[in-house]
Amino acid sequence: MADEAGRAAASRAGAGIDARVKLVHVLVFGILLFVGRSGSSGAVLMATLVGFLVFVRLPKCALKLVLYYGALWLLGWVLSGSSGGGGILGTLALVVFLLRKLAPLLGLYYLFAHAIGVSELVRALSAWRFPRNVMVPLAVALRFFPTIGLEAGVIKDVLRLRGRPLTLLTLCRAPREMLEYAFVPFMMRCVQIADELSASAVARGIENPEPRTALHPLKLRARDGVYLGALAVSSAAVVACGQAL
């Protein structure tokens, strides 16, 4: 039974790595992103991030990250070569450079959004004794993100059907009215969803003072130790490359 549960957990994205370990990874790399002062430290950060994404069974995300970084590198190289260091092309080269510097953020987003489920995150934060007043709205917010696009799309369709399409042109012509037309139904819907969600959460026993139980309890295993070791080595490499300017 325990083996089956373990296998099921490992087959999901995340490779069975403890959510706390992945959160530590995101935090450490987030700090390292602003520490590295050389191009090579950024490249090492990217390379190790791609490796970690493959390890946690997110090869498509790793490929997208490589393509994004590669495209920015190529564009920056072309722009800096043809601009002579000035003019509009030079400004664009600067923009591309900053985007490339911040490209690892995309990898961290993939790691956070795709390798850590909301239930896993709540369990991890519970283990770290996060207050309920932060944990519950955080879980609600993360569950609500995909709905924002859907709700906004419905409101946009309705505005179009009523002859007031939400476009850049209509927004520039009557910004206050258009924002009001878009915001009011959207926020009304949000209030309604909040009421439904809270009723559902109460029905599921969120107000129960007893400790939460979990089908797959959090437990640090050998593979988590290996992951943390690899994280420590790659972080040291990023810092070493950053110092070697």
Partner: protein, 202 residues
Amino acid sequence: MNRTNEERSMLSVRDLATIGIFTAVMFALTMITGVVTGFVPVAYLLSPALFGVLAGPPFMLVVAKVRKPGCVFVPSVLIGLIWTFMGGWPVLVSMGVLGLVGEAIAVKTRYQSFAALVIVYILFVGGYYLGAIGPMYYLTDWYLSFSEGQAGYDPSFVQSVVDTAFGWASAVAIPATVAGAIVGSFFGKGLVRKHFKKAGIV
């Protein structure tokens, strides 16, 4: 059953769900404004001002609907926390500190004074400005040192871009952020009074 004052001042599950949902909306607005303005560094400096205008209605609605300690600080911390999970830890620090100050002001006025709420909202948007734009100053310093060894970058040009972005543009961006927050708070108050109070939602 009579509830004690302490129970009444605690955030209920409904309050937490409301805070969570509107925090998601406000976080999405930080992303949207960042992407829309992010193509040009100078315009990116104005993204908190745009965020200030757009996030006014959800912020004012949360405060008007919840009106309990935590309705300012919790969204501030949550936005910072989600940014932190994506690498943007400075946002957590700045929004956490200014959110706490804002919460203290709001509690002092019992969430009743609109003037106090405008100040609270300016602090909220200011926290986002410090966390999202602050690292750009640091990155620019890093960029200058890095570009010295790069082919294709004229150091004087790079310096001029940086001077523009962090000279006059900053002088415009900071008052623009405050102005955006003031406009957003009035816009939010107007919408809440016109639509949500009439509908009995707040």
